[in-house]
Amino acid sequence: MSQKYYEFFCPVKVIAGKAALEHIPYELTGLAAKRPMIITDKGVRAAGLLDPVIAACEESGLDIVSIYDDVPPDSSTSVVRDIAGIYRQEKCDAIIAVGGGSAIDTGKAVNILVSEGGDDIAKYSGAGVLKHPLKPFFVVPTTAGTGSEVTAVAVITDEKKGVKLAFTSSFLLPNAAIIDPRMTLTLPPHITAATAMDAMTHATEAFTCMAKNPLSDAYATAAVKKVSQSLLDVMDNPKDTNGRLELAQASTMAGIAFSNSMVGLVHSLGHATGAICHLPHGLCMSLYLPYVLEFNLESIREPLGELLLYLEGPEVYSATPASRRAEASISAIRKLRDQLYKRCQLPRTLKETGKVLESQLDHIAEQALDDGSIMFNPKEVTLEDAREILRRAWA
């Protein structure tokens, strides 16, 4: 490509590793924040994941002023408004989102309201509406997959209109992402597997889609390597702290990669399937990844072949002729999926999910064609193409 141009941006301070949570008070003080609010969900609280966060702050004499623990899996405009109300009432001055994609997106949206004012989050939807930095905002991810801690997007459902509102602004990025292996240690196996495959898909699509660039490539390959090396170890030994940290870092790195170079058709299909059949996002990613790579194969032969080094390591890479590496990468991903199926029955086909009807495939195909991420897929996708991929992914 002779007209190559790219942009890369990630101003999030990453605080990662052992006892990372204990850095929160110092980092908050550095931003002159004294009255933080925690935004989380019931599952996180029940799993006891808030305890180390609260303890870390209290030990440093920093009180968590308010805890909102009722974020639903699909956060809505009214939830955002309610939390903003509590924030104002309690005179909070910073937000700590603890959780997965939904709690983090909610934190981002609440931060818009409490910083910009008003009760109607819908009026800030779209791209580039925000013009000023927001209040201090920290994210503590409790899953290793979404990468939301480093993306400049939030999606919130407007339940009155029944539509999903997207908010895009670099001001949504948190000041810091705190990656502490304690937060993912108790993730159940099927969530560990699905979310890690989400990260794997972020990295693979970032590396093979149209907006790939040298900086996002570096993050993407490193993420693929970490997931390949650690996922099965963690599946076999869930309390493996080092392995957990590797997956959490991989998720953040893959998030940095794809937020700068976008994703492609795996996500278009996944978003449509999630909306129509209510399947978890990571599961959809794992399911569609090899089928989409096969579809894109001739457009991505070179970068996909390069990924073999990170998927299988130097021995396999050097023993595989250059002309076969792209296919070998797809096989490696299939092999990983088979291993995950063996360990936690993570579905490999739509039929294996038991939640998709063959009659829904057309609807999924149509909706996928309207998804924004299809724009960055390296190969043009027609409705018939999408149907064909779904037929292959069926069984």
């Binding site: 490509m1 007209q3 190559k4 141009y5 790219y6 942009e7 779209g126 791209a127 580039g128 997207a166 889609c209 149209m210 907006a211 170079s261 976008m262 064609l369 309207d370 998804d371 924004g372 299809i374 724009m375 960055f376 390296p378 190969k379 043009e380």
Partner: protein, 181 residues
């Protein structure tokens, strides 16, 4: 010194070229939407009365079309009868020139952060596919291959329409050559 004298000419030519290409595309968009089923199928899902704009920031040339229903577009020139619903905005005239002189694919321009979408992203996705198809129509196959991700196998259009558009294109190509230098 020489550069100082030549630059304004290049700027002017580039602007003129983008202006003309927007007009060519606007008319072609209307024409193609009347005969091509693929375009109609993509456009049909857009709300009736949707106003689509492609423009150069901050206040440069623009092309405005309206979806009048059933997959048909009506070209409005540079002025809109109502507020715009979906806008694709080039950050700079240089970026519009890259795309409109077919040196950069529309999807690539998105990937390279050359332009922004204001409005519903799913509509923007559809319009991008329509624009890809349009480029395949009005361009000779060789150039079109550079401009779109894939050149469609089957293009059925009255020869008259194609040649008309290509006449515009010929005029336009002269501008490219001048402006590229």
């Amino acid at each position: 010194m020489l550069l100082k004298r030549i630059q304004p000419m290049v700027f002017q030519t580039r602007r003129l070229y983008v202006d003309i290409m927007f007009q060519v595309m606007g008319r072609a968009l209307q024409a193609v939407s009347e005969v091509d089923e693929t375009v109609q199928n993509d456009a049909r899902a857009l709300p009736e009365g949707l106003l689509f704009e492609m423009m150069v920031m901050p206040d440069g040339p623009r092309l405005i079309v309206e979806h009048t229903g059933n997959g048909h577009f009506h070209y409005h020139g540079e002025s809109a009868p109502r507020p715009i619903d979906l806008s694709i905005q080039f950050k700079h005239i240089a970026h519009a020139f890259l795309v409109l002189s077919f040196q950069e694919k529309t999807a690539e321009a998105f990937a390279h952060d050359r332009m922004l979408v204001d409005g519903d992203l799913s509509y923007a996705v559809r319009m991008t596919r329509v624009l890809n198809r349009l480029e395949a129509f009005i361009l000779p196959k060789l150039i079109a291959k550079r401009a779109v991700k894939e050149y469609p196998d089957s293009l059925h259009l009255p020869e008259k329409l194609i040649s008309a558009a290509r006449i515009y294109l010929k005029v336009a190509t002269n501008f490219v050559e001048t402006a590229r230098a």
